[in-house]
């Protein structure tokens, strides 16, 4: 890469580095985004100076009067510095808008210093101020994007974890499985439930599976449809499904909605369902002779 032309901004950063740093710091203080409750003065200054130094180095290589694309290789070090500072600050509880304001606070002090240095050449002043403004905006946007990406990642991870947690198939007894459903049953989860259940039937050679909906908050036509389809698939595999945990309220709702469960066995509680399951696989629970007095 060819060396970038010397600009007033780069001169400013190399000759008056501490001045710019102090001014940036002061502006953040004034705008209320310094967060002295989260970072000591020393720590904050270290972060700013690190960022400013990386920026100053980048200016030696990049001509910012050209369109700025922060995603290119030339900016990689600065991107890393931005990501790092964003990570450190957000981990301690800095809000996204504060982080953006934190970056934008660099504009005003630099503009002021530029207008001092270029007072005699207003055209150059305008050009440099506008270029510098664009670069800082790009940084602020990058910070924001970083935020969103990070948050999306967290949401995606939690969703996957929830999915895994929410469909455990448990073997209750020889040839008897249960899957306790909790929360809401949307199409995606219903699919997951069915897959897990059918694979477990093969794995355990289960003959009876109890689908327990005690923990399902709302049963509407769609949820009922998912349950019945699961029961139908279970039957096709050669096992039987028992839907348990149908509360009086849910029973009323289902009838009002016109849901017909057909041949599918239903039980009000998992206890009643287990009793039925034992009967079908040929077991019986009996009380041992009471030896207690």
């Amino acid at each position: 890469m060819t060396a970038a032309p010397t600009t007033e901004v780069s001169r400013l950063l190399s000759e008056d580095f501490d001045g710019v740093l102090d001014a940036w710091f002061a502006t953040q203080k004034r705008d209320g985004v310094r967060r002295p409750d989260l970072f000591s003065d020393r720590e904050s200054r270290r972060q700013l100076s690190e960022l400013l130094r990386t920026f100053s180095e980048a200016l030696g290589r990049i001509d910012i009067s050209e369109p700025v694309d922060i995603d290119t290789e030339a900016w990689s070090e600065l991107r890393m510095a931005l990501s790092e500072i964003t990570l450190v600050r957000t981990e301690r509880g800095v809000a996204p808008w504060e982080m953006t304001a934190f970056m934008l606070a660099l504009k005003q002090p630099v503009f002021e210093k530029l207008s001092e240095g270029l007072a005699n050449t207003p055209e150059r002043l305008l050009a440099e101020a506008s270029d510098f403004g664009r670069v800082v905006d790009a940084f602020a946007m990058h910070i924001n994007e970083h935020f969103i990406a990070e948050r999306d990642e967290i949401i995606e991870r939690q969703r996957a974890e929830m999915m895994e947690l929410s469909t455990p198939v448990v073997q209750l007894w020889e040839r008897v499985l249960t899957i306790p459903l909790i929360g809401t049953l949307d199409s995606m989860r219903a699919q997951e439930v069915m897959e897990n259940l059918l694979n477990s039937i093969v794995e355990h050679s289960a003959e009876v599976v109890i689908v327990d909906i005690t923990g399902v908050r709302v049963v509407d036509t769609q949820v009922a449809q998912h349950l019945l389809r699961t029961a139908a698939a279970v039957r096709l595999m050669g096992a039987e499904a028992i839907i348990s945990g149908i509360s009086p309220k849910i029973a009323q709702t289902m009838v009002e909605l016109g849901v017909d469960v057909g041949e599918v066995t239903t039980r009000p509680s998992i206890r009643a369902a287990l009793d039925e399951a034992f009967r079908r696989v040929g077991f019986r629970i009996s009380r041992v002779e009471d030896t207690r007095v």
Binding site: A206, E207, A233, R235, L236, G238
Partner: protein, 120 residues
């Protein structure tokens, strides 16, 4: 006999093993073959093992349902056994949950069920 399925006769039960590469023609031939053998051998039970089937479509689903209905008319009880989870999900997705067919986990489960009814 069709290439893609084997039919064995054990006592009064016909055991049908369907292979994965079965074609539409094969399965129609199987339907005819099976109908005749049920009558000729006075079979009281039919067990169709579809463990090898990895893919089903509406056609195969319909024929499976038909096989059950035909055997019932000829006084034989049909069990479809060994269905894979993916196949079960596809059939349910297609709305073909074979309401008229009996199912079992495996061949031995089906034979046990037939024995319990005195059909094997």
């Amino acid at each position: 006999m069709s290439e893609a399925a084997s039919v064995y006769s054990v006592d009064k039960v016909l055991l049908v093993a369907i292979r994965d590469n079965i074609t539409d023609t094969d399965i129609i031939n199987l339907q005819e073959d099976l109908s005749e053998r049920i009558v000729n051998e006075a079979a009281r039970g039919v067990v169709i093992d579809i463990a090898a089937l990895e893919i089903v479509d509406t056609f195969v689903g319909r024929i499976l349902a038909q096989l059950s209905s035909i055997s019932r008319l000829l006084a034989a009880e049909t069990y479809i056994v060994g269905m894979r989870p993916a196949v079960a999900m596809t059939l349910v997705e297609l709305g073909m949950d074979l309401p008229g067919s009996k199912t079992a986990l495996s061949l031995s489960h089906a034979l046990r069920a037939l024995k319990a009814k005195g059909l094997a």
